[in-house]
């Protein structure tokens, strides 16, 4: 038997857990991938919308301020002062916190402060120097009508410069407009999850989160779209890293004023935190599911393999020769059916083994019976009182129902031949009884008729009518050369008288002058006897009915015609009796060609050599 290396239980367990696990894992991967893409697209979209909305609101605010203050600028250019119109307008225009007017010589870049209109002039006393410095920078380096937003004090005030075109011979007027953008300041400064920035064209942070103190956006993020100064996108999204090397998603939208942008920045890690949570939950769910599958598989494989293990152990016992086992499997599936079949098979094998053992025992007993029965038969060849005897006997099975015998009783030679009903062991028992009776009868001084009556009584008592026996007893008296016989329904022997020339069928004389019932048919049956001459070289052939019933390979019986013909042909030259028997046996066996006998075959011949 091959050694088991990997238990079927673990194979089933592996199969039931690995396949669902792989499928589940693949599903999670695919789902996470799709969900990540979808989430990023959502972030891009929502972030872009936010930056776009804020840029639009800022544009509305700034352009509104410029538009509203145009009349103020025109009045100042004409009067060089903020008159009543300006003051009235300033009172009604909430967006503007202050307007500072400077006169600038474009050729020398000399600038002179002219006037200021502010809601709270105190605030600007300290800021004025910063405003001057910033304006000086713009006058020096900013050309054309570029407008730049900036925040000088990290608060809610946004500055930009509005230039006027000078009339010939006059100097240009620069208005530094300060917008108070409290709501935007709050929005930008308090942004946390999504950081908001308002940057000018130089990348300087005008408004931004409080937690990001950097003034230069380049120190916060590396933004590719800012590097292309000549052809910047109006809006878009890009992924970058921050100063801490964290991945960031930045959406930007140009506000349409002074090349400024609103940025909405979110850490990718934070944006995808939901995804991360989903992934963690999925992993937990995955592990739980695999654990449940493993436990269920353990039970399932256990229930399957337990039954198989029982069957395996049962088969091992069978290989050890223990067939009286039954497997207790209660399932009604294929394994249950297999167990039922195994139980049936084991039961049948057990029965067959017992039967085989019984058959072997019976065979052994039959062999013993055969050996014993062979002792019931005399030597095949003999010479008694100058009567030559030769015989042949072959049972159809181990034991036969035929019996023949010869003996001397008070100087007379007795010949016995009988055939019990059927053949085999039961018939052999009857022949044994017949032999026993014959042994006793031999001690009595009786003739064939009386011998037959004693024999009949014996057979009747033994078989009680269930088994019978045909029998023929003949007795040769050498003094008278006469043969006396009695017949109990047995095949009549044939007497062949010595004659000159070849014999023919009509020369066969059946010894059938007397006939009485079979032995065992009635308890007190009387048997007649009669006498015939049995002279020198006369021959008698005794036989049982199995002889003409010998079959060949085609199951065709030899038949009476061929049987008689063989007797005639074999005896035609009056050979010695043993030669006759030998010839007869050869012819019979030639016809038989090794076929199984259907009945016991017994015959013998006697020849009178008493000249």
């Amino acid at each position: 038997m091959k050694k088991r290396t990997f238990s079927l239980k673990y194979k089933i367990l592996l199969l039931l857990t690995v396949i669902p696990s792989i499928a589940l894992f693949t599903y999670v991967l695919l789902a996470m991938n799709i969900f990540t893409k979808d989430k990023i697209a959502y972030i891009y979209d929502s972030s872009g919308n936010l930056s776009q909305a804020l840029s639009q609101q800022l544009r509305v605010l700034i352009t509104g301020v410029i538009s509203n203050n145009k009349s103020v600028f025109q009045e100042f250019v004409t009067t060089k002062t903020f008159g009543n119109t300006a003051l009235t307008h300033f009172e009604n225009e909430n967006g503007t916190d202050a307007i500072l007017a400077y006169e600038v010589d474009e050729s020398t870049k000399q600038m002179t402060f002219l006037s200021m209109m502010a809601r709270n002039k105190m605030d600007y006393d300290s800021l004025k120097n910063k405003i001057d410095t910033q304006l000086k920078y713009e006058v020096q380096y900013i050309k054309g009508n570029q407008r730049i937003l900036y925040n000088l004090d990290q608060n809610d005030k946004i500055y930009f410069v509005e230039k006027t075109t000078p009339i010939a011979g006059t100097k240009a007027i620069y208005f530094v407009v300060v917008i108070k953008a409290e709501e935007f300041y709050d929005t930008f400064s308090t942004s946390s999850a999504q950081q908001l920035f308002l940057i000018n064209q130089f990348g300087q942070v005008v408004l931004g989160p409080n937690q990001v103190p950097e003034k230069d956006i380049a120190k916060v993020f590396e933004l590719k779209f800012l590097k292309n100064k000549d052809n910047r996108f109006q809006q878009g999204v890009e992924e970058t890293i921050d100063a801490d090397k964290k991945e960031m998603i930045i959406s930007f939208s140009e506000i349409g004023f002074g090349d400024s942008y609103v940025l909405a920045a979110v850490k990718k890690e934070l944006a995808l935190s939901a995804l991360d949570q989903l992934l963690k939950k999925s992993v937990v769910f995955f592990v739980l599911l695999v654990a449940v599958i493993a436990i269920v598989s353990l039970f399932a494989s256990g229930s399957i393999t337990n039954a198989l293990t029982q069957l395996f152990e049962a088969t091992e016992k069978v290989t050890q020769g223990k067939f009286d086992i039954q497997v207790k499997v209660k399932t009604s599936d294929e394994i249950g059916a297999l167990a039922d079949n195994f139980n049936l098979m084991a039961k049948e094998v057990s029965r067959l083994v017992a039967q085989t053992a019984e058959n072997a025992r019976m065979q052994n007993e039959l062999q013993t019976a055969k050996t014993v029965q062979e002792t019931l038969f005399p030597d095949a060849n003999a010479l008694l009182e100058k009567i030559a005897i030769s015989g042949f006997y072959e049972p159809a099975s181990e034991c036969g129902g035929d019996w023949w015998h010869y003996c001397m009783i008070n100087g007379r030679v007795f010949f016995w031949i009988g055939d019990a009903t059927g053949h085999g062991a039961p018939s052999a028992l009857i022949t044994s009884a017949a032999k026993s009776a014959a042994a006793i009868i031999e001690s009595l001084n009786v003739g064939p008729g009386s011998a037959m009556e004693y024999l009949n009584r014996c057979i009747y008592e033994v078989s009680r009518g269930r088994l019978m026996m045909t029998f023929f007893i003949a007795c040769y008296d050498p003094a008278t050369k006469k043969l006396t016989y009695a017949n109990a329904s047995h095949e009549s022997p044939y007497l062949i008288k010595k004659k000159a020339g070849p014999i023919k069928k009509k020369d066969l004389i059946p010894l059938n002058e007397v006939n009485n019932p079979r032995l065992g048919q009635g308890r007190s049956t009387k048997y007649d006897e009669t006498t015939v001459d049995f002279d020198f070289e006369d021959f008698i052939f005794f036989y049982t009915d199995g002889v003409p019933d010998v079959r060949n390979g085609a199951e065709t019986a030899w038949g009476e015609r061929e049987f008689l013909k063989t007797i005639v042909e074999t005896q035609t030259d009056f050979p010695p009796v043993d030669v006759f028997i030998e010839r007869f046996v050869n012819k019979m066996q030639t016809y038989r060609s090794g076929s199984t006998l259907v009945d016991d075959v017994t015959f013998f011949g006697i020849k009178n050599l008493n000249g």
Binding site: M468, T470, A488, S489, S492, K505, P510, N512, N515, Q521
Partner: protein, 157 residues
């Protein structure tokens, strides 16, 4: 082996019993009661074989109504052989009304069964066989039995 068949046609206290096939130990004659029948005619024409156990059962069966008058008709050779050999196969009050005698031509190998009928080819005392029996081609056939053995039963009555 031929299947055993037995048919009883009753007419008042008489019956014609037709038997066919093999008579052996497997035949249960107890299924066929002979009680109440005073005169039986057994037609044995289709009996194919009979063994020693079948003979035992047959004799036992006929013994269940031993007082009835029994006649055998159309007895084939195997039945005649048993009548001759086994005392009691034909009961004491039984009589053969017709039986077959096998004929044979040794040259052509032809066989023929000739029906001998009581009062024609045989009587209670002896046999008067046909003067000449020929086969289909006109060849003379001879009796294929030992007469002293085959007709022995006739001399018993």
């Amino acid at each position: 082996m031929s299947k055993f068949e037995l048919k009883i046609d009753k007419n008042a206290d008489a019956a014609k019993i037709t038997i066919a096939g093999t008579i052996d130990e497997d035949v249960d004659f107890n299924e066929f009661s002979l009680n109440g029948i005073n005169q039986m005619e057994f037609d044995l024409n289709s009996v194919k074989s009979i063994n020693s156990c079948g003979i035992r059962e047959w004799i036992k069966w006929l013994g269940t109504n031993s007082k009835a008058k029994m006649t055998y008709v159309n007895c084939p050779k195997i039945i005649v052989d048993q009548i001759n050999m086994v005392d009691g196969f034909l009961p004491q009050n039984g009589k053969v009304l017709s039986f077959y005698v096998p004929y044979y031509n040794d040259d052509s190998g032809t066989e023929k069964n000739v029906l001998f009928r009581h009062g024609n080819e045989f009587t209670d005392g002896g046999v008067t066989p046909p003067e000449k029996v020929v086969d289909e081609t006109g060849n003379a056939m001879e009796m294929d039995v030992i007469e002293s053995k085959y007709f022995k039963f006739l001399s018993k009555k």
